[in-house]
Symmetry: C2
Subunit: 372 residues, 2 copies
DNA sequence: ATGAAAGCGCTAACAT
DNA sequence: ATGTTAGCGCTTTCAT
């Protein structure tokens, strides 16, 4: 390396440091630093002189050096499943707004919902000495990755999903209640054969009592199952379809809708991406929503109000989930020693037009799919 | 600050450093660092011993200290308008994938399309000594913010929008061609009163020759205008509506659609967010698409294929825009001294069902809006 | 192959 | 109010 660590760059210019500014302003390094960093006591005159010199020379503070000596980076790490997922984009924005307002920056990583990728991301952020981390854990069960954060002595706040075996601040939504209510709409309309679809990874078929990788999906499944129980549907677990990412959401949806034995008359989509896929497939198959198939989903994605029919959804305060998580984290970083809290934010129903009574009620199976 | 800079954290544990590892492995700091950092020459035996000690003690490298001495952070800064905007989320993901593959991390900031916010974001990232920056500039005209990056000696790559007065690598899409083609579809169908809507800030009404803050919007406007010219529409500039953010997209759309003097029969939406707003308003007003109003847009947002009717769009290779920008930046960081390039990526048309002939052709104005 | 020592840019005691 | 000095954790000559 030819120009490493010598404060030079490709253009050969010298990076101007406090020492340079100090020299130009004819004061000591310490005084210059005080004037620049706005701490300690400096006389008006000197402050002005130093700042003028800094301006003149084009001084830019080196945040890394500062972190080295103060031990604080004023940076938060955030690990999300995939920033392209509107849920995470919104939550990240919420966190970002709160962080910025409090003088913190954000380092972002995608875990792709994969444990190893998540581990790497966490390693990087820890190495960069973030003051604390916000993570939507890839797994609520295997918390090794999360433990390394705690072990490194960094405050950690979980969002969207909890990790029951870990005592840390957590911000989630009331998924069980929401799922129950959402599913209840369907059973009230007369549906009995309702599919729940999630992309979460899960070996084999779902069976009651299975521990899921994400508490939020687990809660949703719980609420779903209990709503079916309430409606007297036998063996509700058979209607829970996980692993949709591996198979491909559209593929799974197609398989489900074309399975006349199963005779699915309604779908609960665990997020807006799934809802969109189901919507597409239904249309491609000539299934009329809600006439032939009712559809409800989590998350009030912007487009859900624009389709025909508009989709009934359980909205989550996504922005606030990120924001509140950031608030808790910043409190901790500030030295708050209160016991860990779990904030459960309410979801709320937005009733639209995607529910209708099942076409044949309980009397399925029935003839093949029909067109409009 | 009680525990600053002393390598301690809230839990009182000592951060383990190379010195600790060296002591444990009974070698010098230099040797330990060589073994750990995988550089220089170390004997097998010593390497193993050091790595074992590191493992044992739970050593975590301090990336900041490393950057301090090497001058490289292996970190890229990226500044986008708003990460919640699917365009930026996708581009960011593209950049992130390329960056990660090359061993770089990403620091993300939102500019909110505001110059001052952008300046702050850039300041922060420069302070953190990113190795280079990716930015979708809030302004293509006022390039002061961008110049500070260049002045700081950091490689810079622009994406989505160019800055003609600056000689830097740039990745954009062929917006003029795309807009021309998209608008041409409308004129070919017989439309003459076509509104172009963008959220870009612009003082007063648009007039031919005005310089716009974003080259991508400027190119789109150019293509739009030239398509109208080709169709023999007089004074096409009057159909260009900017500033939609300030007024509110839905509000503007409503105003436009209700203006019977103007008699707009089609809309070109400059991005998918605008398209969605127009779609909503049209529906609220009882305007049938495409019967009463044709609609086309930029960006193949996932939902545009799911509405009724599905929307005809000009798709951009968004992921690739981010990815290519990151590639160029990493080349630069690697010391590539080639002259700056501008990569113009092709857009491609996805024809769907949102275009129909205008209901009255040129004979507008006509009676009030009607319901379906 | 290994070690000793200097230095990256900054802040934080501790003087004065 | 200002200056001196040491040190954050790492890499990098330069010796040996």
């Amino acid at each position: 390396m030819s120009e490493a660590g010598n404060g030079r760059h490709g253009n050969g210019r010298h990076e101007v440091t406090v020492a340079d500014v100090a020299a130009a302003a004819k004061v000591s390094k310490a005084t210059a630093a005080r004037a620049l960093g706005d701490y300690g006591a400096v006389s008006e005159a000197v402050r002005d002189r130093v700042q003028a010199a800094a301006e003149e020379l084009g001084y830019r503070p080196n945040a890394l050096a500062r972190t080295m000596s103060t031990g604080r980076s004023n940076t938060l790490g955030i690990v999300v499943g995939d920033i392209e997922n509107p849920f995470f984009a919104q939550a990240t924005r919420g966190a970002s707004d709160v962080a910025n307002a409090a003088g913190f920056d954000l380092i972002l990583s995608n875990s792709d919902e994969d444990g190893d990728t998540e581990a790497k991301a966490i390693g990087v952020q820890l190495a960069k000495r973030v003051d604390g981390m916000l993570v939507a854990p890839a797994s609520s069960v295997d918390v090794e990755n999360l433990r390394t954060i705690v072990a490194a002595g960094r405050p950690l706040v979980l969002f969207d999903r909890a990790a029951p075996s870990l005592e840390v601040d957590t911000v989630i939504a009331a998924n069980r209640t929401g799922a129950r209510q959402l599913t209840g709409l369907l059973t009230a309309a007369g549906h009995r054969r309702i599919a729940f679809i999630s992309t979460i990874a899960h070996p084999d078929g779902y069976r009651l009592g299975d521990v899921l990788g994400s508490t939020s999906v687990a809660e949703r499944v719980d609420g779903f199952v209990s709503a079916l129980d309430d409606a007297g549907v036998p063996d509700p677990a058979r209607f829970v379809h996980l692993n949709a990412r591996r198979e491909g959401v559209e593929h799974l949806a197609r398989r489900l809708l074309e399975d006349h034995e199963a005779g699915i008359t309604a779908v609960v989509a665990s997020d807006s991406l799934i809802a969109l896929a189901v919507f597409r497939v239904a249309r491609a198959l000539g299934r009329n929503i809600p006439g032939d198939l009712s559809l409800v989903a989590f998350d009030d994605a912007d487009w859900t109000g624009a389709t025909t029919p508009a989709i009934t959804v359980m909205a989550q305060p996504i922005h606030e989930i990120g924001a509140e998580a950031a608030r808790l984290l910043i409190q901790r970083i500030g030295g708050d020693g209160r016991p860990p809290v779990t904030r459960v934010l309410d979801q709320h129903l937005i009733a639209r037009e995607s529910i209708a009574p099942p076409i044949d009620g309980e009397t399925r199976p029935v003839a093949g799919s029909r067109t409009l």
